[in-house]
């Protein structure tokens, strides 16, 4: 029997805000333990939460980017449970009225080859809501320590529909979601810092069956590759169980990315009763059209939309757009360069190849680079107008990357301008023909390739400054009938 996997993801994304969700204390990572705290974070007697508007702005932005319906009222509920990482022993969250409903994440599946665009799909979302993060526990041999620095950091919970059917789709979902969140300035999505965390609900069923199978929740998927690998392993595990006549047990499993195996954490969810009720300390927040419009105005073009546009508007190949669009700053850099020089494809090649290579080599960020769009545009112009050869241009690029000089200045300083002095050229050509009689004879006998040897000699004699086009012309004339 053939089986089909059904996968739903629950993704927690930490919002990038200056302060925590309900107090002015800074949100941060890597600070000394329990320094990002105050009476509100520590839930001292009498402390009260006050909503951070930036967090609502960010989740609305996320919702608008993903095409969600935004609830007219943002309402808060208490989720009651005892755990030492939760200072109040309730979490402020959104229960029955999430701020974002529906929407979708567009994904791209792997193409047939690296240079071919893969299939695109839209994975529907159930909801996105806002809640506060908890602290962090460290367990020792005889005691446990708790750090509340993370407690109260705004956290989005993004829940997908059970609409994915392979590990690749889940991988593509998270990749696209992360790109969207980073480009929207909503989250840094650094998984190592726990800013993006993912749980997966996985079940399998015979192909053609419409009912869902028994689901297993996979936790601890703390890198995007682990998500893909963990899901693939789980699908294989479930398939093997069914094929050997067994049944799937509803359980939560923990995936170990290092060993590539998962282990059962607990069978069936313990029957939690979170006793949700509206938080009486917080007033519902009205989200009107003007607010939404103001946020909508700050939304960047979605990355797949931009990719389609780059391919159409600039006639860029898929592979080059795949390099440019995942990085919003790089995309903007490209567009500005293209605008300045009017040669989009050449600009894209310089950026996608040379600029990225130099940045990687220097371990530099684009924002810190001395190379600006004007540099690349000028360089493209110099090559296109024949002032320098493309060989010389490579050298110029390395120079401007290091010094930030304008290309023209480098060309002048290094004397890289192609020679257009026809008097000198005639002389170099005559000399080269005289020095390569065999090649000259070969060309005259109809061997086009024989010309290259003479051209090489001319270029050498000119110290690279001869314009190859002119060399070709003069050479053909001198060797002509």
């Amino acid at each position: 029997m053939k089986y089909e996997a059904v996968i739903g993801l629950e993704v927690h994304v930490q919002l990038k805000t200056a302060s925590k969700m309900f107090t002015r204390v800074a949100a941060g990572y890597g600070e000394p333990e329990n320094t990002l705290t105050d009476p509100v974070v520590l839930a001292l007697p009498g402390a009260l939460p006050v909503m951070n508007k930036e967090a609502i702005d960010k989740i609305i932005k996320a919702g608008l980017m993903l095409g969600c319906a935004i609830a007219p009222v943002c309402k808060w509920d208490r989720k009651n449970y005892f755990y030492p990482d939760s200072p109040k022993n309730y979490q402020i969250s959104q229960y029955d009225q999430p701020i974002c409903v529906a929407g979708a994440v567009e994904i791209e599946l792997p193409g047939a080859a690296r240079n071919l665009m893969g299939e695109h799909k839209r994975i529907p979302l159930t909801r996105i809501h806002l809640e506060e993060d908890v602290g962090k526990l460290t367990h020792g041999a005889t005691d446990s320590l708790v750090d509340y620095n993370r407690a109260g950091t705004p956290l989005m919970e993004i829940v997908s529909e059970p609409a994915m059917h392979s590990a690749d789709e889940a991988f593509a979902f998270l990749t696209s979601l992360r790109t969207t969140m980073v480009q929207g300035g909503i989250s840094a999505c650094d998984m190592e810092k726990g800013q993006l965390r993912c749980d997966a609900n996985i079940s399998i069923r015979p192909v053609g069956e419409t009912r869902l199978g028994t689901k297993v929740e996979l936790k601890n998927l703390n890198s995007i590759s682990f998500v893909r690998d963990g899901i693939a392993v789980e699908i294989r595990r479930q398939t093997a169980v069914l094929e050997s006549g067994g049944t799937i047990v509803q359980e939560t499993r923990q995936y170990d990315g290092e060993s590539g195996i998962s282990a059962s954490m607990r069978s069936k969810e313990m029957a939690h009763d979170y006793r949700y009720f509206p938080d009486p300390d917080l007033m519902p927040v009205k989200v009107d059209e003007a607010w939404k419009a103001a946020i909508r105005a700050t939304i960047p073009e979605l990355h797949f939309d931009r990719q389609r546009r780059f391919m159409e508007q600039y006639q860029l190949p898929y592979t080059v757009t795949s390099v440019l669009v995942p990085d919003l700053a790089l995309s903007d850099f490209f567009e500005e360069t293209a605008k300045l020089c009017g040669k989009a494809q050449a600009a894209a090649n310089w950026i996608a190849n040379d600029l990225l290579r130099e940045l990687a080599g220097a371990k530099q960020e684009l924002a810190d680079s001395k190379v600006r769009p004007a540099h690349v545009a000028a360089l493209v112009g110099l090559v296109e107008s024949g002032v320098i050869s493309s060989t010389a241009a490579k050298e110029v690029f390395v120079e401007i990357f290091q010094t930030g000089e304008l290309p023209e200045a480098v060309v002048d300083r290094k004397g890289l301008k192609q020679s257009t002095d026809t008097g000198a050229l005639e002389g170099w050509v005559s000399a080269a023909i005289a020095a390569n009689p065999q090649a000259a004879a070969g060309f005259k006998a109809g061997n086009e390739k024989a010309l290259n040897a003479i051209k090489g000699a001319v270029m050498k004699a000119s110290a690279g400054k001869a314009n190859p086009k002119l060399v070709d012309e003069v050479l053909r004339r001198q060797l002509g009938p």
């Binding site: 839930a43 009651n80 022993n89 006793r275």
Partner: protein
């Protein structure tokens, strides 16, 4: 001279300070001496920091000498119910759970009072976490009623009421969730004001029931209550439920407003359960207003009379069960020495740290919110609450304020109701609807029983119309001398 100071209204004490007839240090020493003399019998305080308060008094004197007085409250000692945070002082909520907790921060009302030059004077006893009507639920023992030491001062702000009534503090702060300011004020023969929900910031008030709690004032006179209210009222960006309302000069307003007013008398608040002496005194109060030219209308609040207590005990306990979850022995507060792991810390610390009434309400509230019961209890109670508020607001279309008894009886004996929680809950029958509807209410002294126990008249006002409410209460006070009577200790 000092013996005459202890019952003087703040308005007069301020004048004496301003005219430099007394110093703030002398004034505080007077209250320290009085407290030392009577506290053994009253037990209004959980703790006092005399040295700290004297230092603040000296600073106040220095300001005044330099011509930099911060106004009428500069140098005035103010007692704090032990549920309102003052930086560096204990915040016990009269619970073993917080017996050793020192607050590292100031409540907003504390910040405001300090800015006005007032001197936080002692931590006042209460029912544990403000749950009770007699102050007997304190982990540190009961407070006595200054008028009869064998009786309760009311509660939950019993210490705040008793301290003012006994002359240990000129004014004090309390909190009122279902009557916890007005009922003890009535039982101790002083003025107790519960403002509109949202007028005074709750930041720094250890929460019992967030949607009902409100900080208010105890004083000898309506004017003093107004003066203190003016200092603590106003929007606070640290409390999302605080209202963006202008704070008028209540003292000036209450003198300007003269009536006559249209006053409603809720028929249901004079039925079974009301002590006849209390009823008679309150009716005399109503007649006073009628004689003064006010229009007295009988009105009906059937839902409030029938369902307020049940509704209250569903909503308040539900919120409390969640609010008190933070007292877990992990970060601060009592941690059981017998605990061996996290779950054990929770179970044992809370079992040892909380008293019986607090546990009863946490259990009730947990049940009320649990899956399968939420709709029947919590959600239904919220709907009834909306109806009760609507009932009050309809009555206010034809009345400026309502008159009623504050409490069905005068002060009862210590332990008289202690074993019967339901009988105890009935103490709040006339006050509780006011909290559910978020209204302001005030209790003013309106006489004594035959055995010399004070009786309170409750005036219920419209939301955020404290100025009107205070003026109505003041009109009664001006026509009587109950507020000049003090217990002999």
């Amino acid at each position: 001279m000092s013996a005459g100071l202890i019952f003087k209204p703040v308005a007069e004490l301020s004048a004496l300070l301003e005219e430099k007839k007394i110093s703030a240090v002398e004034l505080l020493q007077t209250f320290i001496a009085r407290t030392t003399a009577v506290e053994g019998r009253i037990r209004a305080f959980n703790s006092r920091d005399e040295a700290g308060a004297l230092a603040l008094a000296a600073a106040s004197d220095a300001r005044r000498a330099a011509g930099q007085s911060r106004g009428p409250l500069d140098g005035i000692p103010v007692g704090f119910k032990d549920v309102i945070a003052v930086q560096g002082q204990p915040l016990t909520c009269s619970s073993k759970m917080l017996a050793n907790f020192i607050s590292p921060y100031d409540a907003t009302v504390t910040t405001k009072l300090k800015a006005a030059g007032a001197i936080p004077w002692g931590r006042l006893n209460m029912d544990e976490f403000a749950m009770g009507s007699s102050t007997e639920n304190s982990a540190f023992g009961p407070t006595a009623n200054p008028w009869d030491l064998t009786r309760v001062p009311g509660g939950s702000s019993g210490g705040s009421a008793a301290a003012v009534a006994a002359g240990e503090a000129p004014v004090s702060l309390g909190s009122d969730t279902g009557g916890s300011i007005r009922q003890p004020a009535a039982l101790c023969g002083i003025v107790g004001l519960k403002p509109t929900y949202g007028l005074v910031s709750r930041y720094g008030l250890a929460a019992f029931a967030s949607s009902l709690d409100q900080i208010g004032t105890f004083a000898h006179t309506v004017e003093d209550a107004a003066l203190l209210l003016g200092a603590i009222a106003g929007h606070d960006e640290r409390d999302s439920t605080s209202f963006k309302a202008d704070v008028p000069d209540y003292c000036a307003e209450l003198k300007q407003r003269k009536g006559p007013w249209r006053l409603g008398v809720p028929r249901e608040f004079f039925g079974a359960g009301l002590d006849s002496e209390v009823g008679a005194a309150v009716k005399k109060g109503i007649e006073f207003y009628r004689a003064a030219g006010c229009e007295i209308r009988e009105v009906s609040l059937p839902l409030s009379a029938e369902y307020a207590i049940a509704t209250y005990y569903l909503i308040a306990t539900a919120e409390a069960s969640s609010n008190l979850a933070r007292y877990d022995g992990i970060r601060y507060g009592h941690r059981s020495a017998a605990a061996v792991d996290a779950i054990d810390i929770y179970a044992k610390s809370r079992a040892e740290g909380f008293g019986e009434e607090v546990k009863r309400r946490i259990i009730l509230g947990t049940h009320v919110l649990s899956s399968g019961y939420y709709d029947a209890y919590y959600l239904r109670a919220q709907k009834v609450r909306t109806l009760i508020r609507g009932e009050f607001m309809r009555v206010f279309q034809e009345c400026d304020a309502l008159l009623s008894p504050t409490s069905p009886t005068a002060a009862f004996k210590l332990r008289e109701n202690a074993s019967d929680p339901l009988a105890m809950y009935l103490n709040d029958i006339y006050t509780i609807g006011v909290n559910l509807a978020g209204l302001p209410g005030i209790s003013v002294p309106c006489g004594f029983t035959g055995s010399g126990l004070p009786i309170g008249l409750q005036v219920i006002g419209q939301p955020f119309r404290e100025a009107e409410l205070l003026a109505i209460a003041s009109a009664y006070e001006q026509g009587h001398d109950w507020h000049t009577k003090h217990p002999v200790l």
